[in-house]
């Protein structure tokens, strides 16, 4: 070993007395941190002539560099550097819009920054947490972690199977020290000390003229448990990402949903997910209730959202009733059903010129502000014939406010999210809705390209504000649209399946306990030496060594010394003597002598 720089890996402090060499075996392995050795410039050594020499030299060189690289990666400094990089690398993801959370914002950013946008895109800054460089950092960090904890685990197992190391020669050198002279035999003292230490749950045994004891193994156990738990959490997270599925479904009151792929409005899944993984269940939305703050500065702020549903598990499961709230998803097997959004679905009836109903139903509209001003479209695809009896399609652009400000107030925007003064504004079109082109289209928007607007008698565009129960008649005997009194609400549900959550939670809990153990438990060694002095009197010496300089160590040593002292009291004729005359206590301890030793 030519160099003793940086010895400690992954947490903990080096022994209080700095120099392990000084204490010999006594201070050894109090930490299981591996020692790092510096490497000479070349690993190949001398090169024998000929191709064979070259091959062996190259092999030595490659192995040497491989080892060097591995040592570097698993060294504390590199681990620190990777931790730094990890936290630095996480920052841009919180400041730049991320496509995973808000793709729309990313698009806005791209439009606004024409030069910066493409650069960011190339660097993966719109999906930082799945980018190559971010993955590289945490994968390297975890390899470093594994390279660190595997050898430490073996060392720790070795320590558990072995016994605490024997007493160092000069106990006075240790950070806490006590001594007294007693009438008891050295053997009696050792026996008493062994008993005391074992009762205090030290691992203790007699070696030579001293008792060696150690306690606090849970520190290292906790430390290892914490780091293993981090790996478990990472794997659980990755597993969850690969097998996860997430779908959204908008359900109007009275309608149902069954958990198959085709029923979803939109659906995302991890790369290893298959459709068979969907948990079979179905539910019906009975009622959605939303309440809102009625007064005060936060008027209109939602207070409760509740969706009363009836659900059944499996193909022929029994119906059960429950309520899904914002913080309380419904758990069915691996799947969770969350309530994520809501809105209004006014019921409208469309009649043709003869008065026959061609469309009747609740039309879900999308809220565009926090007071639930909503918009959408009513589309009548087939079954409608115009006044001339020719097939035609009808489209109505709908604008809905649950609480209208009142006519002449100049605004059509809603004043409150509750249903206080509902008004539906409709604009009527006819023509080709564009559904037959086979291009998927937004059900909430009218594609007016091939539509013609109805005009009233004066030639103005036909539009009307309807109160519940009111109708708008289409000109020329083309029928009517009625805003029915039954205004329904809809609820948006998100169904999420993410395996590995249990493992992640287990890992997280293990991490906390491991961390607490590794930070709060002190590992310490205590030695009790009893020898017969030159004058035939037994001299007891006790000393303690901890990993960090803790005020608790001398306190504990004092307690232990008192207990041993009870069993082997100070020699009777010395009781009145000046306590400062005890050996070892008066002479000032030369400082840092061992520190210079290599």
């Amino acid at each position: 070993m030519s160099d003793t720089r940086s010895t400690d890996v992954h947490s903990d402090e080096s022994p209080a007395n700095g120099s392990e060499a000084d204490l010999g075996e006594a201070g050894s392995q109090l930490s299981t941190a591996p020692t790092e050795t510096a490497m000479p410039g070349s690993f190949g050594g001398s090169r024998a002539p000929g191709p064979r020499g070259w091959v062996t030299w190259t092999a030595r060189e490659i192995i040497g560099w491989g080892r060097w690289f591995w040592r570097q990666l698993t060294s504390m400094r590199v681990a620190l550097l990777l931790l730094f990089l990890l936290s630095l690398g996480a920052i841009p993801g919180s400041l730049i819009p991320q496509s995973g959370t808000d793709a729309l914002k990313v698009q806005d950013f791209m439009d606004a920054h024409t030069t910066l946008g493409p650069i960011y895109e190339k660097l993966g800054l719109f999906h930082v947490y799945s980018s190559v460089w971010f993955s590289a950092i945490y994968i390297l960090l975890f390899i470093s972690l594994i390279g660190c904890i595997v050898p430490r685990t073996w060392q720790f197992v070795g320590q558990l199977r072995g016994r605490p190391p024997g007493a160092p020669k000069r106990l006075t050198r240790l950070p806490a020290y006590a001594t007294w002279r007693t009438d008891a035999d050295p053997e009696q003292v050792r026996e008493a000390a062994l008993k005391v230490l074992k009762r205090r749950r030290f691992r203790a045994h007699v070696t030579g003229d001293a008792v060696a004891a150690e306690k606090g193994y849970l520190r290292e156990a906790g430390n290892l448990a914490f780091h293993v738990a981090l790996i478990v959490m990472l794997i659980a997270f990755a597993w969850g990402q690969l097998y996860k599925s997430e779908g959204n479904k908008l359900v109007v009151e009275g309608d149902g949903f069954s958990n198959t792929l085709t029923q979803y409005d939109d659906f995302k899944s991890g790369s290893l997910f298959t459709d068979d993984d969907l948990v079979p269940f179905s539910f019906k939305l009975d009622r959605f209730t939303g309440t809102y703050e009625r007064s005060g500065p936060n008027k209109g702020t939602p207070r409760t959202y509740e969706a009363a549903i009836t659900y059944s598990v499996g193909a022929y499961g029994k119906d059960k009733k429950t309520t899904v709230r914002v913080n309380e998803p419904l758990n069915i097997g691996d799947a969770k059903v969350y309530l994520v959004s809501h809105g209004y679905a006014p019921t409208v009836t469309v009649r043709d010129g003869k008065g026959d109903i061609v469309f009747q139903g609740a039309v879900p509209l999308l809220p565009i502000d926090s007071n639930a001003t909503s918009q959408g479209a009513v589309k009548v695809y087939d079954g409608y014939r115009n006044a001339q009896g020719v097939h035609d399609q009808l489209g109505f652009a709908a604008f809905f406010v649950p609480t209208f400000a009142g006519a002449g107030k100049g605004t059509m925007y809603s004043q409150f999210p509750g249903l206080d003064f509902p008004v539906l504004a409709v604009t009527a079109y006819h023509g080709d809705l564009g559904v037959n082109a086979g291009i998927p289209q937004n059900v909430y928007q009218l594609n007016t390209k091939n539509l013609k607007q109805f005009k009233d008698a004066k030639g103005n565009k036909l539009t009307a504000r309807l109160l519940p129960g009111e109708s708008m008649t289409l000109p020329g005997g083309n029928g009517s649209i009625t805003f029915d009194k039954d205004i329904k609400e809809w609820a948006g549900f998100q169904v999420v399946q993410q395996p590995g959550n249990g493992w992640a939670l287990g890992g997280a809990l293990a991490a906390i306990f491991g961390l607490a153990g590794s930070l709060f438990i002190q590992r310490r060694r205590v030695w009790v030496r009893a020898t017969t002095g030159a004058d035939g009197v037994t001299v007891v010496e006790m000393a303690g060594l901890g990993r960090s300089e803790s005020a608790k160590l001398p306190e504990e040593l004092g307690d232990l010394a008192a207990l041993v002292h009870d069993r082997a009291p100070t020699k009777t004729d010395e009781k009145d003597a000046d306590p400062d005359q005890e050996p070892g206590a008066t002479t000032p301890v030369p400082a840092a002598e061992g520190a210079q030793k290599k």
Binding site: S14, I91, A176, E246, V340, F520, A562
Partner: protein, 360 residues
């Protein structure tokens, strides 16, 4: 209904009055701490200088500390334990505290602590009144978060004092920032008391937010210790290398604990609360899982909590790595606390995300 609202408004009003009263008492405490420092500057303590410059002082002081423990039953005298400082460490005794051994200074210091206790009680009552007025945990917006945060920070300080820890020197620094924090709360961040949005209706609010506040308060105390450590350490280094620090620096820093003690204090405080911070993040993840459908989604608040966590992990590791101990580790600790602060103020004000409720 109307009656209940009237009671609530009355309580909210009472809470505001109590918070303003607490600020007034904190201001008095602040002046008392100032008086303690001023009177303390009369005494001429130079323990650090003696320990580091005079050779004679060194042998006179070794062995550094003696722990004498009299037996509880007093039948048998217990053996004495002799302790020895770490090899290579500067053997510097702790300063006497802000009062510098001056009797009048000490008196003002005691007055300051008493006033702090009073202000703490008043502020706590203000927080409780606020909670009663909104009938929920008072952590629904940044104003409430701020008043709770400063209450807890002072609570941590008083708890350390009650545990007979040598932390009275923290007083002036802490109360100054508590006043700033409260000033910010009542002027910029004030939000009239109101109820919570549905996403906050969960018992996890109590668990997640209360631990977040406690962690912040303790991290803050640790950060103050770290900053003072940096000052004291450079003061000691200057002395040890034969330099002569300015009179103001000498006067103030001589009265603080030794740099090693400050470093240890900051480490203990940070290390003690790190598992709790881990728990806070995990509790938040569990809550997010039931509220938002995923336990981790890289929301800005989550991301910064993670960055803070990694930064503190860095600090704990750095402190045990050769070449990173001491000042470098201390800088990391300050960066980590900076991350916490940004997570609290910066993310709410500049970034947004799912953690913003009720305005800010």
């Amino acid at each position: 209904m109307t009656f209940a609202t009237a009671t609530n408004e009355h309580l909210a009003h009472l809470s505001n009055t109590l918070i303003y009263s607490a600020m007034a008492v904190y201001t008095l405490a602040f002046f008392a701490y100032i008086a303690e420092w001023l009177f303390g500057s009369r005494s001429k303590v130079a323990r650090t200088a003696n320990a580091l410059t005079t050779d004679g002082a060194r042998s006179a002081q070794a062995p550094a500390v003696r722990v004498r423990r009299a037996g509880g039953t007093a039948v048998l005298e217990r053996p004495k334990v002799v302790t020895r400082a770490a090899a290579g460490a500067r053997d510097v005794p702790d300063g006497p505290g802000a009062h510098g051994g001056d009797e009048q200074g000490d008196l003002y210091g005691r007055v300051a602590v008493s006033l702090t206790v009073l202000a703490f009680a008043v502020e706590l009552a203000g927080v409780v009144a606020r909670a009663a007025s909104v009938q929920r945990a008072p952590w629904g917006n940044m104003y409430e978060f701020n008043i709770t945060f400063s209450t807890v920070a002072v609570g941590v300080y008083l708890a350390l004092l009650a545990l007979k820890k040598n932390v009275r020197w923290l007083g002036l620094f802490l109360i100054t920032t508590v006043l700033l924090d409260l000033g910010l709360a009542v002027t910029v961040l004030y939000t009239a008391s109101d109820q919570l949005v549905p996403a906050l209706h969960s018992y996890w609010l109590y668990i997640h937010v209360s631990t977040a506040i406690l962690c912040g308060a303790v991290f803050y105390v640790g950060a103050v210790g770290t900053i003072l450590y940096l000052f004291k350490d450079s003061y000691e280094s200057k002395l040890a290398s034969g330099g002569k620090p300015g009179t103001f620096a000498t006067s103030v820093l001589e009265r603080l604990p030794a740099s090693a003690s400050l470093d240890k204090f900051a480490y203990r405080v940070n290390a003690a609360v790190f598992p709790l911070w881990t728990f806070t993040i995990i509790a938040g993840a569990i809550w997010a899982e039931s509220a938002w459908g995923r336990y981790w989604g890289w929301d800005p608040k989550e991301t910064w909590a993670f960055i803070t966590w990694v930064a503190y992990a860095c600090y704990l590791h750095a402190r045990s790595t050769a070449g990173w101990k001491g000042r470098k580790a201390a800088y990391i600790a300050l960066i980590a606390f900076g991350c916490w602060l940004f997570n609290y103020y910066g993310v709410n004000i500049f970034v947004g995300g799912k953690h913003s409720y009720a305005g800010v």
